[in-house]
Symmetry: C2
Subunit: 212 residues, 2 copies
DNA sequence: TTAAATACAGGACAGTTGTCCTGTTTTGTC
DNA sequence: GACAAAACAGGACAACTGTCCTGTATTTAA
């Protein structure tokens, strides 16, 4: 399996690499099969590390879970949501693009394992204060990024009674919930529908005044 | 603890009652602490039943989980969502009322344990086909009930390009996601915001034509 | 009344889990 | 090169989990 240079008992330490490999493996397991359903012996096998190495880097499973959230889940939200929305012309276009990307990726792999953040949020929020704080922080950054983009949309033709924070909250909630429904039905249909609905609503509300 | 009529070894069989007590206890545990985090010995203690009784009514934990979903979760969605929406004058009013009821109940108890259906959906959908089917069926009934009510709203002043199914999907998704965010932040704020946003959007789209 | 079926009691059991502990190897530092 | 610290190996261990099994009490049917 692993490369054996020449001598039978040769080892080369790579603490940083091993840690990354562990967190990567744990991220994949925790976000697909769940935190409690992923046994450490499976992670050790999949990552190719021994019990001693695991205990050295992460004294408890909880510490590993926390690292997964803070390192990988936060990064995933940044890469798949925040960055594309920021880079897009308008918020609506950004959201449309994000949904399209995620949908096509799910169709390619043929299974819906759900939103990593949402999966861990529902499983771990009430279990530990540190988990809750880490998850809440990611939700906040996500929401804030969308709200900022919405406010930027309004710079040109400013509309008074438009609450960017509220709309950003709706976007994040609708996406999270749509992904939950997609996971339950193992179909991307809820995502398609909610993506279209959200972009349509935002375009209406940001292009011109609405009610009242 | 339990009533002892007079003689020391007197027992009175109540299979139906015992079953209900078990499912109730399991529903409370599964929807707050989670399915995997709830050990059977805790359920036995809380419900006041022995291992033999449990095994007699539910041969496996999986069978108990399935009963919780089909009996209690489905009923909870019916009582807290479907019935109030059906009884309301309009869909928007119904949704507003549902959100208000849930929010005030959460504020009273001081903690957010999340939407029972959503909690179990994310934890169990990918674990078992029977779980997935049962959960998907509840989502479908929920969505359909809202869509029916939306179509009823339009009877008077019919609007052509209004997709009731799509809006119902958005409503369910937004609620589920908002509850997930509420659980992560242990605050009802996301629910308040999404409730207001949804009712506002629906009122706009059902009262008069929108874009195009 | 009797016999069979149902309902329940209570514990045994094997498998699994996360953690810890004792050694060995590698790496940095003087 | 010596030495301490870090990095890893590999297994022991106790606690816990779900399931099953044998026995007893209650209810039902005849």
């Amino acid at each position: 399996m692993a490369e054996r240079p020449t001598s039978p008992h040769r080892r080369t330490n790579d603490p940083e690499g091993l840690r990354q490999r562990l967190v990567d493996t744990a991220y994949a397991a925790f976000t697909t099969r769940g935190y409690h359903s992923s046994a450490l012996h499976e992670l050790k096998r999949d990552a190719g590390v021994t019990g001693g190495a695991l205990a050295h880097h992460f004294p408890t499973k909880r510490a590993l879970g926390l690292a997964v959230i803070q390192d990988r889940v936060a990064e995933a939200v940044e890469l798949t949501w925040i960055a594309p929305v920021r880079a897009a012309m308008t918020t609506a276009e950004g959201i449309q693009e994000v949904f399209a990307t995620i949908i096509s990726e799910l169709e390619r792999k043929g299974a819906v394992s759900g939103c990593p953040l949402n999966n861990l949020a529902l499983e771990l929020s009430r279990e530990d204060e540190a988990f809750q704080a880490a998850i809440e922080a990611i939700f906040l950054r996500w929401r804030t990024a969308i709200a900022d983009k919405l406010r930027a949309d309004l710079r040109s033709d400013s509309i008074d009674d438009f609450d960017a924070e509220a709309m950003a909250t709706l976007v994040v909630a609708a996406y999270s919930g749509a992904m939950a429904m997609a996971k339950a039905s193992q179909s991307v249909a809820p995502l398609k529908i909610c993506g279209e609905q959200l972009t349509s609503i935002i375009q209406n509300q940001t292009s011109q005044g609405h009610r009242a």
